[in-house]
Symmetry: C2
Subunit: 350 residues, 2 copies
């Protein structure tokens, strides 16, 4: 698909020149869109993900509405562990809840080898539908949860601020902790390979909560699994994006691990992000999602220009938020951001 | 008091050579100590703070138990606003709760000029008792809440993760936001000056939640009040410490604003912290408080040595945690950390 390969998004991921800065938004599909609420109704998220026609349509909604430069699969990082029967639900207003959390080595038996064709055929079908629908125009980003972040759900049993069980296992039984991460790395790799085989043009690994660890603990206990994942998908030739929040101190580690693109949260400038990766990766970000949700347009406009100015016209910038779209965000504001980014002459801020 | 001036803590704050690295812990007094629970019983925190003999004794407990190199006043950052009648309680298991949150310019009238002698004579009395008790041996750190962090309580009405009201005011009515911060800067300055006049040897400004803002918003909306505070206490000649959590990207701003010492959380090394301040300040930190609470001694020991190694024997290091002592921390572990730090030859890690 030569057209896709020349898309702004994929070219920027590869640090090649573009005609305009590509832009998409983490969580662009879903809860902030009225057409999503209308379409999904009261269907549970995991049930919606399991319906390929519905999941594909939800994925396409923000592409149609905003004209963003990439689609991202409508799915969830807990889907693989849920699909093997670990006992995961997504509770409304809470997030992932685990029926019986991971507490000992015996629980490894509840995580058999993950096969996307066997366990999540509906995900592959959704990707195939989307690849067909989007072919030649907009790249589709496939994604998976990084082992640490998925493990934190399995260990805590629900979303956590403190990660007490996760930290305890990491420090008291690093061998078992690493075994758990290895098991989940296989899930991540198999899921990503399956999505690319079905038609995804790029992959993003969400290590959303990795910033809870000190960089030293991250490097010792988590980085090896990240490195393994990026190595295991290198032969696919698609851009590999690493992302998280509160992870501004980990960007250099992600570059070391083989990321082609790093997501940058709103705590540093893109310029500083490039310093931390030594210019080895493209950068994705990093408009403050709170400003987009709560501030008036002149404030959002100024902050959008500041993000572009911080990139200073260098190749390898994908415009995005520093974190996911807040549910209370007005779609009209996101539209104005897309239009602003597309209208800005590339290099004009150099 | 020549002896105090030669104390390890004050010398390290001034980046002078010391015979051993000074160590104290944020939240060393209070909830992690059995003798605190026994002494305080069911007395409300704000009531305990208002009893000088009790507050002084609580302040001294960790000094006696651990032999730490500094005492920190037992008080709370909401005490000044509570003392003028703004309607603040500290609810058990919750934190500061505001009866009628700050919602408009009219609420500025509820924040009259703060006079520590008139509004919080008990705080000054506690400091005087402590200065007498500690004289010639251990320096006492006085402290106050930075305007942004105190404002976030007044605006949100209770502890928050999202700071929605705070962000809204900052972006929708920066003039009123700055007026509120100015008002609270007067509280901070008057409180700190009162404590130093009563005998405190150093002051720490807690901008605990400043990391919720992007560094750009911090610099534009908050830094001016921080600068004003540090300038307004410069003539006192006591070290000025800036602290927060999630604030590793703000260290350069704090150095610009006049801090003599910056608290470093556990997300960066001391070496990187010094890079960010350009070596202009001493550094305080930065052992992971979660490890101290949850990990076994060999893990804590290795991490303590890593902190010392990161300082590499340079003058101007005050050993501390990256954030406050977790309530579940075993006092015996903190004792071992104190002993390890004191036993480590200064410069041995250079």
């Amino acid at each position: 698909m030569p057209d896709l390969e020349n898309s702004r998004f994929l070219r920027a991921c590869r640090q090649l020149p573009v005609d305009a800065t590509p832009v998409w938004f983490m969580r662009q599909a879903g809860r902030s869109l009225p057409e999503y609420k209308a379409l999904k109704g009261t269907t549970n998220i995991l049930d919606a993900i399991a319906e390929p026609e519905l999941a594909a349509e939800i994925t396409l909604q923000p592409v149609r509405r905003y004209g963003v430069d990439a689609a991202i699969l409508y799915s969830d990082i807990v889907v693989p562990v849920q699909s093997v029967g670990f006992g995961v639900e997504i509770a409304a207003g809470v997030g992932p809840v685990i029926e019986r959390p991971f507490t000992s080595a015996d629980d490894l038996d509840r995580l058999p080898e993950f096969d996307p064709a066997e366990h999540t055929p509906y995900v592959l079908e959704t990707v195939r539908l989307l690849a067909k629908e989007l072919a030649g125009s907009t790249p589709l980003i496939g994604f998976a949860g990084a082992p640490f972040t998925v493990a934190s759900y399995l260990l805590e049993g629900r979303p956590s601020r403190d990660y007490v069980q996760t930290r305890k296992l990491l420090w008291s039984d690093p061998g078992l902790f690493h075994e758990l991460l290895d098991r989940l790395a296989q899930y991540c790799i198999a899921s990503l390979r399956g999505q690319v085989a079905a038609g995804a043009s790029a992959i993003q690994v969400f290590d959303s909560w990795a910033g809870a660890l000190t960089p030293e603990d991250y490097a010792e206990h988590v980085l090896p699994s990240t490195r393994k994942i990026f190595s295991a998908v290198a032969d696919l030739g698609v851009p590999r994006i690493a992302s998280g929040v509160g992870t501004s101190e980990l960007l250099g580690h992600w570059a070391d691990a083989g990321a082609d693109v790093v997501s940058v949260d709103s705590t540093i400038t893109l310029d500083e992000a490039r310093r931390r990766t030594g210019g080895r990766t493209a950068v994705q970000g990093n408009l403050d999602p709170w400003a987009v949700a709560l501030a008036s347009w002149p404030v959002v406009e100024a902050k959008s220009h500041a993000v572009l100015a911080s990139n200073a016209g260098r190749p390898g910038h994908i415009f995005n938020l520093g974190h996911g779209v807040r549910p209370e965000t007005a779609p009209a504001t996101l539209q104005r951001v897309v239009d602003l980014v597309h209208a800005a002459p590339v290099g004009s801020h150099a």
